[in-house]
């Protein structure tokens, strides 16, 4: 082989690509989504949402086989974010008081 084929252009799914290539997106979305429920709130919830969206997109493009996993991470990230935003709003409104480290 003297000629190296050019790499596929950015953003284009390779034809006949690896159907598991982007599965790590779904796994990461799930792990970070779970962490956002475990008191981490939007610190891991926002990455979970972004990775979840990308994971679902990759599944639609045939580059991932775990779109449902990405979807679960996406939903968990939204729940975690919503709860922590709600908490911070209540805190800003002076409704709640900090008394003890509970994380």
């Amino acid at each position: 082989m003297t000629q190296v084929p050019p790499p596929p252009p950015m953003g284009m799914p390779p034809v006949g690509g690896d159907p598991n290539e982007k599965n790590k997106l779904g796994v990461w979305a799930l792990v970070l989504g779970i962490l956002s429920i475990l008191c981490c709130g939007f610190f891991t919830g926002i990455p979970a949402i972004i990775l979840g969206i990308n994971g679902k997109k990759a599944a639609e493009e045939g580059r991932a086989s775990n779109g449902s996993l990405a979807n679960v991470g996406f939903i968990l990230g939204i729940i975690g974010c919503a709860l922590s935003v709600l908490g911070f709003v209540l805190q800003a409104a002076g409704v709640l008081t900090y008394d003890f480290s509970t994380s």
Binding site: N20, G26, I37, G87, L96, T102, S103
Partner: protein
């Protein structure tokens, strides 16, 4: 798929290994810090927003205190704070980190595949734990306040 047998000989091997090693180092440092500082007392760690807002424990409440107790060799105290973190989250975290490190250093370990039913069962179990640990009969065993 590449047929290169030894992943570590690839030119991008260092980059592949850097992220999991970095995450492991950060987690180890955070664990050590949690062991040195005392999350049983206010000051060094932020409060759980959910607990502060509602008065109910979230599934992770007591987790930092459990880690602190574990680092200092108090298994019973750790289980009292948050049994799910001690028996579930920490073993799962070690498993995930270990698998990740192996999958980037050797070709014999494939990237982790999580079945869909596991991805659904874990959040369902978390939700159940969330409710049950705030119920009167179970609070003494499942919540840090009990």
């Amino acid at each position: 798929m590449s047929s290169v047998s030894a992943a570590v000989t690839r030119p991008d091997a260092a980059r592949r290994v850097a992220l999991p090693v970095g995450v492991t180092a950060v987690l180890a440092a955070a664990t050590a810090y949690t062991g040195i500082r005392n999350p049983h007392e206010p000051g060094f760690f932020p409060s759980c927003v959910f607990y502060s807002a509602s008065g109910y424990y979230c599934p992770g409440c007591g987790g930092l205190r459990a880690v602190h107790d574990l680092v200092n060799g108090d298994l019973a105290g750790a289980l009292q704070m948050n049994p799910l973190v001690v028996l579930g989250v920490i073993p799962a975290g070690i498993f995930l980190i270990g698998w990740w490190l192996l999958s980037v250093t050797t070709d014999r370990v494939r990237p982790l595949h999580i079945p869909t039913w596991v991805g659904i069962a874990i959040p369902v179990a978390l939700g159940a734990y969330w409710v049950v640990r705030n119920l009167e009969p179970f609070a003494p065993y499942l919540s840090p306040g009990g």
